[in-house]
């Protein structure tokens, strides 16, 4: 019996060693025998590693059709010369790590990207610096890919002149984490992408949206920061979304929203911070969304909930220092507001259960007026407007009767 095990062990070791010997490593660089990455790709077999040493590589398009690992040593620069697509990945299990990729070509027809992944799986794109590319990382029909710790910067003057940072179409089970995306059209764009986790990314000052997804079900977005994007974050036609611990701030402009929810259903929005946006959240046609423990601070409008929304629950949120807390465009209210903290609440708590004894109506008359006549903002905080608001609070006539928080909290909660 022992002998049998010994034989098995020997065979195993032999296999392992032979396997190792096949996974060759090829060095590429000015001081090495092989000077070009394309040349190296011609030589390698599946499972090999190519180490690319520092230098500038202008090789047009580098198409990867084998299962290889490409590692940049000392940040080699891949220059697309504003004409080519630097990396195209066609094979599964490809890793691209530690490169600086710059100046890809520009084409709205072919959607040229710095790294484009075609119909494959298990690609890992990590620790790269992408500078001045059209699209950054583009995945089409990809599965189980990882995009981690990349820095993407673009300098497009308009939406048309730049592509998206991380763009994915018809993919599944992606992991997008720790990336920083600046100046692209959309920071992260997902369309028909399912079961994906987006975590710890920073999308700053992108031309259009920081995050943009459509028809992307069952995805989770955690601890991302979306700051100063042209139109904030917009998500559409999706169900089962989970958004938690994200920060949405300084998305300013008439059509800019911290978070725009259009036809989002059965989703959770929790522990997020919305600060200093023109409109923190705009909800349109969204049903059964749970909004819990979010912080709304210093926004123009904290929550614009259109009358087309239904069965949403807004609970245990803090509304602090917003110009308007809640605005709506109709009198029908099918949503629940309960146990939120409103800093504009002026009620009392006689039974000391930390909940106000009179309901709070977060929609002010003037917010309805401004919704209809935006120019009326000119008179905001004037004496006459205050008078109108007070009268309305006492006898509600124009504001929706049922839009109220019956148990407003007396103290802000930890979110």
């Amino acid at each position: 019996m022992t002998r049998y095990f010994y034989v098995v062990f020997c065979v195993f070791v032999c296999l392992a060693v032979s396997g190792m010997s096949y996974a060759a490593t090829i060095q590429v660089g000015a001081s090495y025998h092989i000077k070009s990455i394309n040349h190296a790709l011609g030589l390698v077999a599946d499972g090999d590693t190519i180490r690319v040493h520092a230098g500038v590589y202008r090789e047009g398009n580098i198409a990867i059709r084998k299962r290889v690992v490409l590692i940049g040593v000392g940040n080699p620069v891949i220059d697309g010369e504003k004409q080519h697509e630097p990396f195209s990945v066609f094979a599964p299990n490809v890793t691209i790590r530690g490169f600086t990729i710059k100046a890809s070509g520009r084409s709205s027809i072919r959607d040229i990207a710095a790294i484009k992944i075609y119909d494959t799986r298990h690609a890992t794109i990590a620790d790269n610096i992408l500078d001045d590319n059209f699209f950054g990382i583009y995945m089409q029909n990809a599965k189980q890919c990882t995009v981690r710790n990349n820095q993407l910067t673009a300098y497009g003057e308009t939406e048309q002149l730049t592509g998206n940072g991380i763009h994915s179409w018809k993919s599944d089970s992606l992991y997008i984490a720790g990336n920083t995306i600046v100046g692209h059209r959309d920071g992260i764009y997902l369309e028909f992408v399912t079961r994906t986790e987006v975590r710890d990314n920073h999308a700053l000052h992108n031309r259009r949206y920081g995050l943009h997804f459509m028809f992307s079900h069952d995805n989770g977005y955690y601890a991302n920061t979306f700051t100063g994007n042209g139109a904030g974050v917009a998500v559409m036609y999706t169900k089962h979304v989970r958004m938690a611990h994200n920060t949405f701030n300084e998305n300013w402009g008439d059509a800019a929203y911290g978070l725009l929810l259009k036809d989002i259903t059965d989703s959770h929005i929790e522990h997020n911070v919305f600060s200093r946006n023109t409109t923190a959240i705009l909800m349109e046609g969204s049903n059964r969304v749970q909004m819990q423990r979010n912080q709304f601070e210093g926004n123009g409008w904290a929550l614009k909930m259109q009358a087309s929304c239904m069965d949403n629950v807004v609970t245990e949120n803090n509304f602090v220092q917003n110009t308007f807390d809640v605005a709506t465009n109709g009198s029908l209210v099918l949503n629940t507001f309960a146990r939120n903290y409103w800093d504009k609440y002026e009620g009392y708590d006689l039974d000391k259960d930390h909940e106000g004894d009179v309901p709070f109506r977060p929609v002010s008359l003037y917010s309805m007026v401004v919704e209809k006549f935006p120019m009326a903002m000119l008179l905001f905080r004037s004496f006459i407007v205050m008078l109108l608001d007070r009268t309305e609070r006492v006898i509600p006539s124009l504001t929706p009767e049922n839009l109220k928080d019956d148990f407003p909290l007396m103290k802000p909660i930890d979110v």
Partner: protein, 255 residues
Amino acid sequence: MNKIMKYVIADLLRSRAVLVYAVVLLVLSFSVFNIEDNADKGVISLLNIMLFVVPLVSIVFSTVYLYNSAEFIELLVSQPLKRGMIWMSVFAGLAGALGLAFLIGVGIPIVLYAFTVSGMVLLACGVLLSLVFVSIAMWAAVRIRDKAKGIGLSMLLWLYFALLFDALVLFILFQFSDYPIENGMIAVSMLNPIDISRILILLQVDLSAMMGYTGAVFRNFFGTGWGMAITGVVLLLWLVAPMWFSLRFFDRRDL
């Protein structure tokens, strides 16, 4: 001129009304900042007080003072002094006293609790509003000889600037909301010094909301150097114009 100004200020301080005004402002501001946990919210509460109280006190107090010291002014006119200089000194004394009272009453709490851009804008606007309404009071007082009527006129003027004007603007807004009235409305708001100061502070404390559609109109005007310059000139005009009219009238009036 200095002598008359000094005398006016000493006279105002002796009557204690200005002192009481300063102390009330001080107590109000301190309590506002102690109740509100956030500096910007404190500034908003103070804004409401400022837009309401400062013009009222400035205009009514100045009118009453001018009528009460009518005999003193007559006495001064009989002296070998230029009329214009007498009138200017009285204005300087009144404006100095009320402006100083505001600076102490609101300035100290703001420096302590809300040393921010919005706080500073509030302070500057408050001082300017004090001066503007003293100047309007001078005009009202010199135009009408009867004390009761004069005080009535000054109260009416305050009511107009604080309330009626805005109601009128709101009415125009609703009536002409289908027309491109944005720039026109900014021009209209220039006709009221209270509105000018309110919008200037609004642009600081409600910045996020102002970034919206109308905000764009505001920012295109108030956000630019030219817009700010025009606003400053208009506010100064509000200070100078009533004063100048009253001065002209005082020069020619048969006392």
